[in-house]
């Protein structure tokens, strides 16, 4: 009789975790319906006109790009130096979110720039470092997909270099030329704009957590599929050996 142990299951989420996740989903759906109305109702900025309202979702996307990159780097450090599989899963999932939110930043920014500056693109520090960061995250995903046997560790090393690279790129281009609106825009917003901005930022952050946990669940399931497939192969091999004997 073949004896084998079932590999550990990816246990279904606990009720409390599932509850928090569903609450997050509900908040996002409500936000999707409510935030556009808030943005339309927000006062129009004096110098830039209505196009300034892109700011309410462009800036949160930029923050979430940075957050995703640092979470990816953190997970990569844990995987590279402690062999943490959870760290690796977290790094992979947050890298995808970095690419997603980075794409949102790189599309909404030029649309805003076209109206505000007259051109879609300028080589200023913020735009250039965002573009480079996004490209590095795309390179991370390429390394994971096509990097061969050491792809996970290579990608983790890339994430480390990426986290260190961003301030360096920023400083180098900032010295080179600058044209982007000042970051001090956020603390000096008019009260009516402040409420809309922070609501939008909070909702986008909740959305980020929801997407990350959603994607982590998929990653855990895929790991379980790999483990089960190996287990099935082992069992079949043992059976064939037994038959031969």
């Amino acid at each position: 009789m073949v004896q084998h142990t079932m590999p550990p299951t990816s246990t279904p989420p606990k009720p409390a975790t599932l509850g928090v996740f569903l609450l997050g989903v509900a908040v996002c759906i409500l936000g999707y319906a409510w935030v556009p109305q808030m943005i339309v109702g927000a006062p129009i900025e004096m110098t830039m006109g209505p196009v300034q309202k892109i700011f309410y979702f462009h800036v949160p996307c930029a923050w979430l790009l940075m957050l995703s990159v640092f979470v990816c780097a953190g997970g990569s450090v844990a995987f590279l130096f402690k062999g943490s599989e959870r760290g690796d899963r977290l790094a992979r999932c947050s890298s995808e979110l970095a690419v997603l939110f980075g794409l949102c930043v790189l599309v909404t920014g030029p649309l805003w720039g076209r109206v505000a500056w007259g051109v879609y693109w300028q080589w200023d520090a913020r735009l250039t470092s965002s573009l480079l960061l996004w490209l590095i995250m795309v390179a991370y995903l390429l390394a994971r997909q096509y990097g061969g046997p050491a792809s996970r560790k290579l990608a983790a090393a890339l994430a480390l270099f990426a986290a260190a690279d961003v301030p360096l790129v920023y400083i180098s281009v900032h010295i080179w030329r600058t044209i982007h609106p000042s970051t001090s825009v956020v603390p000096t917003l008019a009260p009516a704009m402040r409420a809309v901005f922070w609501t939008s930022a909070a909702l986008f952050t909740v959305l980020w957590f929801v997407l990350l946990s959603f994607r982590l669940r998929l990653e855990r399931l895929r790991n379980e599929v790999d483990e089960l497939a190996i287990e099935v192969e082992d069992v079949l091999e043992v059976r064939m050996e037994t038959k031969r004997i």
Partner: protein, 234 residues
């Protein structure tokens, strides 16, 4: 743990092994060198107006640094390709040599080859583009040397990790180029100022040199940390 002089000796052993192999067949130098010459020629056809003066200093600086990147990619790919043949990398990793020493040894070998080719590219650029490369030769050498070191610091980690990958050749450039952008920005800015036939802005040149030193230091430290787990594979 090896004594410090043992560590340094290991670095030179690894580097001299690579350079000795290269001296015997000169494969990387020949291919890199010829590729770089052709690249400078292509840039000359693309940018130089035969009837006019030489290129602007910014364009010449760009050509020098693009040459550094492209030829460096070849050097990095081929250096580790040799380790893959006959599983030489396994023998290297099974030896008691510290991974950090292997990393620095490989780095030294790559830097030496890149600098050799970069010398040829610089001389050719001075010839074809009428660039004043002799004006501040020491500063120019410093810039290109720092850029080469930084590029090789990241590249050694990446190409070491891709040693068993099938898409190695395409991936090395795809992974490296976004990472080394601060190097390229600083290098091109500083080099174009140095090649400026009028008096260059020395204050900016010193700033970009310091910036390159910082970038190199960051890349070297990260490379030393990351090389061991990456080269050990899965």
């Amino acid at each position: 743990m090896l004594a410090p002089n043992g560590f340094v000796k290991t670095i030179f052993l690894v580097a001299s092994k690579d350079l000795r192999i290269e001296w015997r067949n000169r494969e990387i130098t020949a291919t890199m060198g010829f590729f770089s010459v052709l690249m400078v020629l292509i840039f000359a056809f693309a940018f130089v107006n035969p009837a006019g003066d030489g290129l602007k200093s910014e364009v010449t600086a760009g050509v020098l640094w693009v040459g550094l990147l492209f030829s460096g990619t070849i050097a990095l790919a081929r250096t580790f390709d040799r380790e893959r043949d006959l599983e030489a990398i396994r023998a290297l990793l099974l030896s008691p040599a510290p991974r950090a020493a292997i990393y620095l040894g490989k780095l030294l070998g790559v830097v030496f080859l890149m600098l050799l080719v970069q010398l040829a590219v610089t001389l050719l650029s001075g010839l074809f583009f009428s660039a004043s490369i002799g004006q501040h030769a020491v500063w120019l050498a410093l810039f290109l040397g720092l850029g080469t070191l930084g590029y090789a610091a990241v590249g050694t980690v990446v190409s070491g990790a891709l040693i068993r990958s099938k898409s190695r050749d395409a991936l090395i450039a795809a992974l490296l180029f976004p990472l080394v952008t601060p190097l390229v920005m600083a290098g091109v800015r500083g080099t174009s100022m140095l090649l400026n036939p009028e008096t260059p802005d020395m204050e900016s040149i010193v700033f970009w040199t310091e910036f390159l030193v910082v970038v190199d230091a960051v890349f070297l430290i990260l490379g030393l940390w990351a090389f061991e787990p990456v080269i050990s594979g899965e």
